[in-house]
Symmetry: C2
Subunit: 109 residues, 2 copies
């Protein structure tokens, strides 16, 4: 059973990463995606992450962060930079990355 | 082939809706989900939407809007209110809804 991220009261920040995969290297991609989730969880200021890829190939990963500075540091993490480069050259046909400030939140538990 | 949303230069607003489905009523849910996407596209201030549900049952729908007022109007749309109510009582085991202001964006085309 999957779980949703548990985040504090806003404000906090989010990175919305939406992507369409190429057909290339599914096992290499899966391994790197798991490694990046594991590594992200260890970063200062990390609050949570939610990720889904539909049967049509569209993927969405939303990560939550304490500050824009935490996002900047994660973007520049050495191992993450290698993954980003391989993503651009091989794994992604297209992606969009949006950084946003969460203003309010509510849910059904 | 799926497509990503094409959005203008920030700032604009986003609603990040993450959910876990109950096992109830898959065909009724699918029909309503499609109808809500169709209806959202017709709303004033709508900019785009991306949606994915993974094999583990976690779903993410991210919609983009010109303003917080456009989001408020969509939330209170009569037909959408009916869908929200049925979502809470029947279709969703859990959900989180976050409203955020997109500050910057970039991508790989």
């Amino acid at each position: 059973m999957p779980d949703l991220a548990t985040t504090p009261e806003p404000p906090y920040y989010t990175v919305i990463f939406t992507s369409i995969r190429t057909p290339a290297d599914p096992s290499g991609y899966e391994a790197m995606a798991e490694r990046m989730l594991e590594l992200a969880r260890q970063q200062p200021g990390f609050l949570g992450v939610e990720s889904a890829r539909g049967a049509d190939g569209l993927g969405i990963t939303v990560s939550y962060w304490e500050s824009e500075e935490a996002i900047r540091q994660w973007r520049e993490h050495t191992e993450h930079l290698v993954a980003q480069s391989q993503g651009r050259s091989e794994w992604y046909a297209r992606y969009e990355l949006r950084v946003a400030r969460v203003e309010r939140a509510y849910g059904l538990k």
